[in-house]
C-alpha cells in the first residue's frame, strides 16, 4: 500500500520515533514527530475538546431544573467537569502548536467537528439521565482506549478525565435506576428517552472503519487505538444487559448477542449521520449560536484580562 504521506519525512528520525512508540514510551511535545502524527493528533484532541464544551449544553439545560439538592449539586459538578475536560484537552492540543484562539474560532465558525450526538435535544430530565449514563459510558470506552496511546499530554489529560468520568457514570446510572424502578410516570419518561436516543447512541462510535494505509499507520503510531466497530461492540456488551435488567426495552428488534459473543444490531443510517454532522441536525444551529454568543458576550472580560506585556508560549507538557 502506498505511503506517500511519509515520503518527505526523515527516515532515520521516523524509525527512532516508531521504535520509541513500539517500546511503549510516550512521545512528548519537544520530540520530533511526523507531520501526519501532529496533524492527526491536533484534529483528534481538538475534536474531543469541542465535544466536551458542546456536550455541556444538553445536560446544562437541566441544572436549574434538577430535582432536589443531591441531583442539583451532582449535575452542576458533572457539567463543570465537562468544561474542565475541555480545558485539559485544549491544553494538550496546544502543546502541538495550535493556539486555543484558533481552535475556538474553528469550532464556532463551523470549521471543526464535535461529537454528533450532541446535535440532538435533551427533551426531558430522563434524556439528561440517558446522556449522563450511556453517552458518558460510550465516551469512556474511547477514553480508556486512547489513554494507552502514544502522545504524553493527551494521555495525561485522559487519565484525569477517566477518574472524573467514574463519578459521571455512577451518577448517571443511579439516576436511570431511580427512573426505571420508580413511579409509572418516571418509567414512561425513561423508556421514551431511550427510544429517542438509542439510534444516535449507536452512531456515536462512528461508521465502520475503512481500512487504508492511513488507518494502519495511525494504529501503528498508537493514535487510533480501537476500530469504531470494536468500541461499539464493547459498549453493547457492557451496557445492554444493564439496560435490560432494569426492564427497559431497546428499540431494535435485531439486537441480540450471538453465540460467538458478537452483538447483532440494525445497522445505523449512516446517511442520516452524515447529514446531521454536516449541519442538518435538530440542534446544530443552536449549539454553535450559544457558543458564539458566549464568546462574543465574554469578549470584554478577556480584553480586560489581557496584560500589556503578555506573551504566549507553546506549553511544554
Amino acid at each position: 500500500m502506498s505511503k506517500d504521506f511519509l515520503a518527505d519525512e526523515d527516515p532515520v528520525k521516523l524509525q527512532e520515533f516508531e521504535d520509541r512508540i513500539e517500546r511503549g514510551e510516550k512521545i512528548e511535545p519537544v520530540d520530533w514527530m511526523p507531520k501526519l502524527y501532529r496533524k492527526q493528533l491536533i484534529r483528534m484532541i481538538e475534536q474531543h475538546a469541542h465535544s466536551e464544551i458542546i456536550g455541556s449544553l444538553p445536560e446544562g439545560t437541566w441544572i436549574t431544573r434538577a430535582p432536589g439538592f443531591k441531583r442539583k449539586l451532582a449535575l452542576m459538578a458533572k457539567v463543570q467537569d465537562e468544561v474542565g475536560h475541555a480545558q485539559l484537552l485544549y491544553s494538550a492540543a496546544e502543546t502541538l502548536g495550535k493556539s486555543r484562539e484558533q481552535m475556538i474560532v474553528d469550532l464556532i465558525n463551523g470549521k471543526s467537528k464535535y461529537s454528533n450526538i450532541f446535535n440532538y435535544p435533551a427533551y426531558t430530565w430522563a434524556d439528561s439521565c440517558f446522556i449522563s449514563w450511556l453517552v458518558d459510558a460510550g465516551a469512556i470506552v474511547n477514553q480508556v482506549a486512547n489513554s494507552r496511546g502514544s502522545y504524553g499530554p493527551y494521555c495525561r489529560a485522559l487519565e484525569r478525565i477517566c477518574v472524573e468520568e467514574a463519578f459521571h457514570l455512577k451518577y448517571g446510572h443511579h439516576c436511570v435506576i431511580h427512573m426505571a424502578t420508580g413511579t409509572d410516570i418516571q418509567k414512561k419518561m425513561m423508556q421514551e428517552a431511550i427510544n429517542r436516543w438509542w439510534k444516535p447512541m449507536l452512531m456515536f462510535f462512528g461508521p465502520p472503519d475503512k481500512i487504508s494505509a492511513h488507518t494502519e499507520t495511525l494504529m501503528k503510531w498508537k493514535v487510533k487505538m480501537l476500530s469504531n466497530d470494536d468500541t461499539r461492540q464493547q459498549f453493547l456488551g457492557m451496557y445492554v444487559p444493564k439496560i435490560w435488567e432494569l426492564d427497559l426495552t431497546i428499540p431494535d428488534e435485531k439486537l441480540r448477542k450471538n453465540d460467538d459473543g458478537k452483538w447483532e444490531y440494525t445497522e445505523p443510517d449512516w446517511e442520516e449521520f452524515k447529514r446531521v454532522i454536516n449541519g442538518d441536525g435538530p440542534c446544530n444551529a443552536e449549539r454553535l449560536a450559544v457558543r458564539r454568543t458566549a464568546e462574543e458576550r465574554g469578549r470584554w472580560v478577556r480584553e480586560a484580562l489581557n496584560r500589556p506585556k503578555a506573551t504566549y508560549v507553546t506549553p511544554l507538557a
Binding site: S56, M76, V83, H178, W300
Partner: protein
Amino acid sequence: MDEALKELLYKMADDLLIIGHRNSEWTGLGPILEEDIAFSSMAQDKIGQSQVIYQILNKLGESEPDIVAFTRNANQFHNCQFVELPIGEYDFSLMRQFLFDLAEWHRWDSLSGSSFEPIAQAAKKFRGEIRYHNMHAKSLIKVLGNATDESIQRLQKSLDESIPFALGIFELSPFEELLINENIFKGELKLKEKWQSSVSEILLETSLILPDLNEINPVQGGRTGQHTEHLQPLLDEMSEVLNVDPTAEW
C-alpha cells in the same frame, strides 16, 4: 427565641440557595473556560452551604431541605431581592458576587463566635470557601475595575444598579435586639458597617466610584416575602422536574 433563630437561618439559607441557583446558570457559558470552572465551584459551594443551614432548620423542627427549598412559593422565601435578579451580563453577576460575598465574609465571621453552636460550627467549616469566594471576587474586580474603558464603564453601571439592592441584604429583622443580646448574631447594622468599609477599601484600588450610600434608598422587602417578578419563575423552574411527579424519588 426559636422564631428569631429560624428567621435568621431562613434568610441566610434562602440567600445562598437563590444566588447559587442564579450563578449555576453560567455553567458552560462563561467568558473564558477557567473562569467558568471557578464560578461553577462557587455556585456549588453556595448551594451546599444553604443545604447545611436547611439541615440545621430541620433539626429545629422545620421540614427537610428538599421540601423547604423546592416547594415553597415566592412569598414564603426570605432572600433579599438582590439575589433573585436575573444574571444579566457578566459584569452584573461579577459585581453581585463581589458585593454579596463581602457581606457573607463578615456575616460568617461574626457567626463563628455565635452562642448557637450549630451555626458557629458551620461558620468555621465554611471559612475556607468564603475565603476563596472573596479571593476570586477581589482579584477580578481589582483587575477589571482598572483595565479598559469598557470594563470600567460596565462595572460602574453594575455597581450603580446593584447598590440599592445590595443594601437590602441588611434589611433589619424584627429580632435584631434579641439576637444581639443572646450573642447569636451581632446584627445587620454592625454587618453593614463592616461591609461598607470593606467595599470602599477595595474599590479605592480601582477606577470605580462607590456612590454615597446615605443618598441611596435600599430596596427592601425580600426578608418579609416581598419579591420582584423574577422569583416565582425561578422557583417554578427549580421545581419543574420535581413537580412532574411529587410522589417520586428522583
